[in-house]
Symmetry: C2
């Protein structure tokens, strides 16, 4: 059994589907807005550019995406987008904020198995109301000793979380789908991280790196990985 | 000296101005959207109705306000609002999210004075990125042992916070401008609360009650109130 006290788990795209909804939202945006955009403009790329520009002031999550989508619809159509499309974009945000949680395969069993041997904490970022809604309705909350919803996942925010829950980095293992947010900052602190990729990754989460870390295909393999010596 | 271990302080409209910006945003909305609305419609009331409807799914804060403003502009104008106005509404959100913090009078001295005798925690609700930005740029962060940004301020979220920071309700005193969010839920747990009103209060924070609690005109009176026996 690996010498950890606490296992940290990311939520979006690690415990439940998330990026596929954003991906569908982007496709819907392209479909709704393209008819009003001059030829030769890459509508999807223009939306991502607006999201990138706004990341610093809007942050992560569905409401930030929605405001960027509204802004992008107006600017890239040079004001030609009809207000009916603007209304549909806000509707899309509301639908995404209230859609039921869709768990990834094997998640409840995997949490139950590792929860018998380790303290579990959920460490996620994004929109406070959306993440809280998802945790509360997921049926998974009872597995976690602690839930942290962070503005950003970087070494300094992880350091604060580990301090709050009283665990040294070398006794901590983080599990998640994003190398940028779940793996590299934890390794930078001297902790361990396990990567479980999700088929989709948001463009602004892409990162170049040459670190080595464990990678699993499914969370169902986590308990076994943790018991290997 | 009062027998408290921890003083909790609200942030918006207790340490720094906030509601005046929302109020200005509402007035700007009325000014921008009214020309496209049928006669006899109360534009401000219609905006508040949309905010109320969305509170459950959008939550508190500037991004929630912005999305509601966009939705309201489209619906109450029956689609007649020009996209240029929609773009100005998104700009308004961005400006509000990035405007410098404006401290209320006497706040730094008051925190320094009470911080000599009590552990201070900041307990606020709203948008994660906006509240974090304000705390970090306020110049006040060093006074606080802990910062909690909550989705909602009710007895159950206060109970969790008090548990996390290790203080019993009877040893805790909360200070803030909102009777609904800062006073009543803390009293319901058996804690103490001090009301310091701000000249403006958001309509959705209004509450009817017949509780009795201490009320101060300014945070500059807090240290003295705490030393009274």
């Amino acid at each position: 059994m690996k010498p950890f006290d606490v296992i940290g788990l990311d939520a979006d795209d690690t415990l439940w589907h998330s990026e596929d909804s954003f991906h569908a939202g982007e496709q819907k945006f392209v479909e709704l807005v393209s008819p009003y955009v001059s030829e030769g403009i890459d509508v999807k790329a223009a939306l991502t550019a607006v999201e990138r520009k706004n990341l610093h002031s809007f942050g992560y999550g569905v409401k930030a995406f929605g405001l960027s989508a509204v802004e992008a619809a107006v600017t890239i159509s040079e004001g030609r987008v009809p207000t009916e499309v603007i209304g549909r974009l806000v509707e899309m945000v509301r639908a995404q904020l209230t859609e039921p949680v869709r768990l990834l395969p094997h998640v409840p069993e995997a949490l139950a198995a590792i929860g018998r041997h380790y303290r579990l904490v959920l460490i996620t970022k994004g929109d406070l109301i959306h993440q809280t809604f998802k945790v509360e309705t997921s049926g998974l909350a009872h597995h976690f000793e602690h839930v942290e919803i962070l503005l950003e996942k970087d070494p300094s925010t992880y350091r604060k979380v580990l301090h709050n829950i009283g665990v040294a980095p070398e006794k901590f293992c983080m599990v998640g789908n994003s190398v940028r947010s779940d793996i590299l900052p934890v390794m930078a602190l001297g902790g361990t991280a396990v990567h479980i990729p999700y088929p989709l990754l948001w463009e602004l989460e892409h990162v170049e790196h040459d670190e080595h870390f464990a990678e699993l295909e499914s969370i169902s393999q986590l308990a076994e990985w943790l018991t290997e010596s």
